[in-house]
Assembly symmetry: C2
Homo-oligomer: 888 residues x 2
Amino acid sequence: MSATASRKRVYDFAEGSRDMRMLLGGKGANVAEMTRLGLPVPGGFTITTRACIDYLSADHTMPPGLGDEITRHLQSLEARTGKRLGDADDPLLVSVRSGAPESMPGMMDTVLNLGLNDASVRGLAARTRNPRFAYDSYRRFIQMFADVVEGVERSLFEDALSDLKAARGVTQDVELEADDLLELVATYKAIFRENKGEDFPQEPRTQLDASIRAVFESWDNRRARDYRRVNRIPDDLGTGVNVQQMVFGNTGPRSATGVAFTRNNTTGEAGEPFGEFLINAQGEDVVAGIRTPEPLAQLRAHLPEAYDQLVATMALLEKTYRNMQDVEFTIEEGQLYMLQTRNGMRSAEAMLRIAVEMVDEGLLAPGEAMTSLVVADQVRQLLLPRLDLSGAPVPAAHGVRASPGAACGIVVFSSDEAERRGRAGESVILVRDETTPDDFHGMVAAKGILTARGGKTSHAAIVAVGMGTPAVTGVTDLHVDEADGCLRIRDEFTVREGEYVTIDGASGTVYVGQLPLLPPDPHNRYLERVLSWADAFRTMKVRTNADTPEDARRAREFGAEGIGLCRTEHMFGGEDRLPHVQDMIMATNHRDLVLALDVLRGFQIADFIGIFDAMEGLPVTIRLLDPPLHEFLPDYTDLRVRLARAEITGTPDPEAESQLPNVERLQEVNPMLGTRGCRLGIEIPDLYRMQVAAILTAACEVKKRTGVAPIVEIMIPLVGFEDELRWLRDHVLDVAESVFTDQGTRVEYHVGTMIELPRAALVADEIARQADFFSFGTNDLTQTTLGFSRDDAETKFLGDYLGKGILRSNPFEHIDQAGVGKLVRMACESARKVKPKIKLGVCGEHGGDPDSIRFFGSIGLDYVSCSPYRVQTARIAAAQAALQGSRG
Amino acid sequence: MSATASRKRVYDFAEGSRDMRMLLGGKGANVAEMTRLGLPVPGGFTITTRACIDYLSADHTMPPGLGDEITRHLQSLEARTGKRLGDADDPLLVSVRSGAPESMPGMMDTVLNLGLNDASVRGLAARTRNPRFAYDSYRRFIQMFADVVEGVERSLFEDALSDLKAARGVTQDVELEADDLLELVATYKAIFRENKGEDFPQEPRTQLDASIRAVFESWDNRRARDYRRVNRIPDDLGTGVNVQQMVFGNTGPRSATGVAFTRNNTTGEAGEPFGEFLINAQGEDVVAGIRTPEPLAQLRAHLPEAYDQLVATMALLEKTYRNMQDVEFTIEEGQLYMLQTRNGMRSAEAMLRIAVEMVDEGLLAPGEAMTSLVVADQVRQLLLPRLDLSGAPVPAAHGVRASPGAACGIVVFSSDEAERRGRAGESVILVRDETTPDDFHGMVAAKGILTARGGKTSHAAIVAVGMGTPAVTGVTDLHVDEADGCLRIRDEFTVREGEYVTIDGASGTVYVGQLPLLPPDPHNRYLERVLSWADAFRTMKVRTNADTPEDARRAREFGAEGIGLCRTEHMFGGEDRLPHVQDMIMATNHRDLVLALDVLRGFQIADFIGIFDAMEGLPVTIRLLDPPLHEFLPDYTDLRVRLARAEITGTPDPEAESQLPNVERLQEVNPMLGTRGCRLGIEIPDLYRMQVAAILTAACEVKKRTGVAPIVEIMIPLVGFEDELRWLRDHVLDVAESVFTDQGTRVEYHVGTMIELPRAALVADEIARQADFFSFGTNDLTQTTLGFSRDDAETKFLGDYLGKGILRSNPFEHIDQAGVGKLVRMACESARKVKPKIKLGVCGEHGGDPDSIRFFGSIGLDYVSCSPYRVQTARIAAAQAALQGSRG
């Protein structure tokens, strides 16, 4: 008890600093910092986050000694201000606000105007000569205290207010007089008494203690817990409680309140501060939007001294924090008060421009700007069309921000129609209740995707993000009436197939009609600067996942240094190849098999020549065929239905008859864990031999034609046992020699494997003996390590898990470091023990996720590979990983 | 080179001992041991296994210096025998035989009668006064050398022999005269010259060197490699080469040859040695079965001195080896020679009786007998009916020994019929081309299973082994003609439905008709003795996997000390429950869900009371519902076909219509990795709450009625994240308190989880914080770690992998120690760090596999759990694990 009792739990604002964010919370630390800088901050003190945790873990009882500490700090505040809490003559009013180490906007509770009671309200009225203001403050305090601290239904107060306005025949709160408000105070106190069985507390210290408890409790409320889970904030941080003297921007025309950014938060432009204010108003009024605020520059005309002081203060804050600041201020009777400063939210464009200009201004070194000002993931927004909001359009509905970017097009309700119209060159928005894998072709053809159901992990969202297609999902107001060929939004809008909608995936908004879009800007000059820093800092290479020459070229424009994953199965699905693939599968003897493979070899050589040409001598990792063969045959159920139909109608269906036995033979209970990857190559060695021959023939031909030899990396998928790779590697070497003899030339090639099974990671030392490189296939490794079938998890239980807080993020987006990451780390360590120079990379989708990239950097991978649109993001994240590593 | 040259590579028989098996091979070590014991062993020397490996790894060239070493040992042998290799007057003949550290019967090569040439054959003829014998030996030598060493087609020689017999008008080899054989020698030499382009080598040292090389080479032949893969013998052991003076049992009536066991290898009875012999014969003749050998006891009458010497020798060998021996001997002109001794193969009965009696004779201590004489897996044979072969029945066909035991019954061709007739009390053999999961009910009802296709890893085999049902699979001669209601075996047998067949799974044989069976003998008194030793030695407990009171009772008879896995899903599938399970699944609101669960609760309470009663206070681990819910609904494809049919025929199918949306909703791409296990419990908390309430209610009621409180272990399946278990554990505790209040009493209960996902093993320390116990579900852990869907692997690629030697054993039978085993070991270590007393067990099928049990013992698990029929095996294997551990 002595250790607990002796611990300091309350800090005067003058005692803290911005480095004490963990102990004081963000708000407390920043207010302390401003106090330390000598800025005009209303006095007060902060109760530590540790006190909050102590309170919660001691069965919600106040830590011993805390009351006395508060008393001392309160007395000191009263002494400095010359006012006393609850004083009938010149009362001190305080606010009680939460403030956690990580920003959790709006999640926790706040009480304003604390210290008012039946006596002090009269003192306030007299002192301010503004009884209306005093009684309005009191009735607000009663309502806020009753709601936040005592849990009395807020609507009871709102109804009483409405009743009073009706009785007075007015519509606006401001039309009520001081006497009306005095009457309302009485009504509010009666409501309080009725609901709580006791009188509204008149003793200010009782009010204060109850409010502090309420803030502590709010750390653990459902909303806050959920927010922390979604934002991956630990539960054991706790919140600070800030008790601060109230100042008032609503005492008259020489008072004001406002918010401001030190630079433009949309463009990043420096110069005049950017923000807005209201004369004679309180902070709440700005947020509530009852009156329209004026641009900050206008403040100079109203209150020039306060304005100049604000501008100087903001400049000082920016220099101090070395980051663009977002401040809240109040001016009471001409006197400026700073209430809050924090790093400001900004658009991607602003983020980059601010980083570059702050470096040019000498405020930060590039490395510091990379880590403190650049958010790697935001860069992708520059690659997407944006909505031109200059016309201030009104959204028709809101949904989930499933995939960023804006899109405008005509509505279609089926994937077949999307494909048909898309091919015809029309811009279409595919609208569905929700999408399924059967919609893939329509999603590819669509400019945007809009669904009524599903969140960020829905099929629509995942596929859209993967393709870089804008999407808004989970629009609950949207009703898709396929039968009637239209969509309805509430009862307000009806859009028929062929009419326009516009969606903005970045904000989750839906507009009826055609809105102007701003084109993407991937070669923004600020971005180029930031990327040039990134390339200088990073140690990991960045490759791309690309299956076509077009993707490869696009990725090179974004800076990809090679292909980390070229999947060959997509090459098998083309209309011109599928019949031959089916011949191969259905071959009943070796001759038919070889014939089918011969045809495919021709296609494959052309495929690989295209890719090698696009990559001009950069390394290309090609994965041999991976998916189970039944994916190239019709669906089993469809065949059975066709045959049932044929039987009943007496119309034979010879195609279905011939396909059914093969589909039955290849059917698997769990295709993910079935005959795929290297198991195919071992079962049908001629298949992989054909692919290897095509790859190396293409490489030799490109070398002979262009003089630039491709660097070929042949990747065997799904290896779990050293002997699998040994067996297949022997085949590769054998085929290679025969191709080189035929071609009269040789190319450099390497043989490696994907590490995508837990066993492969566990015996990586054994497998490394047969491998020139490893590429971690973290998608499949996540599926097997967690036992999560991605197809099933994301449409079934994953949403429930995220909702219940059992998972904090989708492990397919951010790598599960404790499980999957541990396997990757173990595999790297054991492989390098056997073969120090083995090349190690990652080609799962995590290769484009900044969080995951930082993890991969920390364990020393040589490269990450990601989709073309994520290459720039990955370059930045790789730099951040390197900077993080060099700082230890 | 000096290290290589100076290494001793040839050992005289007098220089070795039985401890040198790794260096000299089994045969070489045993012959050396017999020499050391002063037994009459023809002289010779052994070339080491290391020389073989050196030869193979030096690109198949003779290690330098080996030739000289052989020369010295050969000269010494010649000096001792007074004969010379190839001598025209008194030639030394030798045999050249392989002998590896692990027995590989018949896999590698042997050359006999080496040293004969055109000159020495005359010397042999003169010395033995038996020209026929000499020329017969010579022609045999030419054929053997040509075949084994030079790869000349054996049939060429056999055809020449047949031609000669035809020309002489005789049918038996022995009817040929010496002159005929002299002519045959000339023919054989001509064949050799024709095929090899050179003369048959006359120089004995050339013959010898070539034969030694051939034995070295035979280590690497396909057959030997395959054998090693199947029997998990390492490839780098190499074979020894034994060069030994020939002795002849075929020189006349005072000569003989035979094989013998020191005890009866079928019954284990001690007393007179047990074996057979032929007068005036060579070893080959015994094997070839041309003449019928006589029982060994008859030898006393023929050659009493040699017989007495043999009996004394065998007694000495048994004492020396402290194990039942299998010897080969030859008597040449009354003189006994011992050619080989080794531990003898024996039946399960003999194994146990020999172990017990050798301990009683003071030959070994029980612990030694446990490790050196008892093979845990063989014990299961005692639990199965055996075929009474006293009538010497003739098999109709042979197949794969899929599941041991014999069965006799009437043939049925469908599982429905098997179930119908089985219920009616008939003994049925289910005959199918191959079985599928749909046949499960028929397999349960059948006394035996017979299939035309599939090996040891086929569905039929796996299920049969699991149920302890005899099975023969992969009978290629079997044709199942369902349409005609009969089976055919080649063109010889036709068996109609309802007629009898008998199968013997231990030998893979099929008999037409009804054969007598011998009943199983689980309470064999020798077994009881061995088990009592086992229980004294072992440190791991042995539990059983049992879902019914019947299984539980049976397992207790076999010595189970608790239930390690009681699966509740089987309880849901019963006809009386399924409609309510479907109601639960299809419930669209909470009220319907609760109603369905209320009905199920009643059934479950009765289920658990039955189990607790059977276990009388022993611990019972009950796993909450695990499989995906669609398993309780009709098949998706069937529904779609039904609805297509309904649509075309215009006959509505309301049942299918109502079920389809639910089946569609629950359908999963990879059910193994889908919504099952604890994911169900989290999605539908009421389901697990119902099960927990039923379990604890049953436990309280049993306690109140019997006074004996069950020890309840509630097991949450498929946990991968600590928060899953925390969330569900909270529900369990909550339900428990309310049950105990209702019941007015409490029972001891624990909450734990199955570790069956790689992630769970990787973060076992985190999960351990929420768990009282872990049970490793190594079946599923194998599926996810290896990415092998068991359903798919065993019917698809696993056979190919085993055939190609990529896998050496089925990882579902023997735990994959390097991968899955590593995870289990890591999990145990990290869990115990957090919670030293956590109870750790295994309930996968590996819990009944002796190899795996020894592994589990080595990492310190507290118990294994296996099917009832494997409990005795597991008790013995656990003892062996403990003895192995105590020896370090």
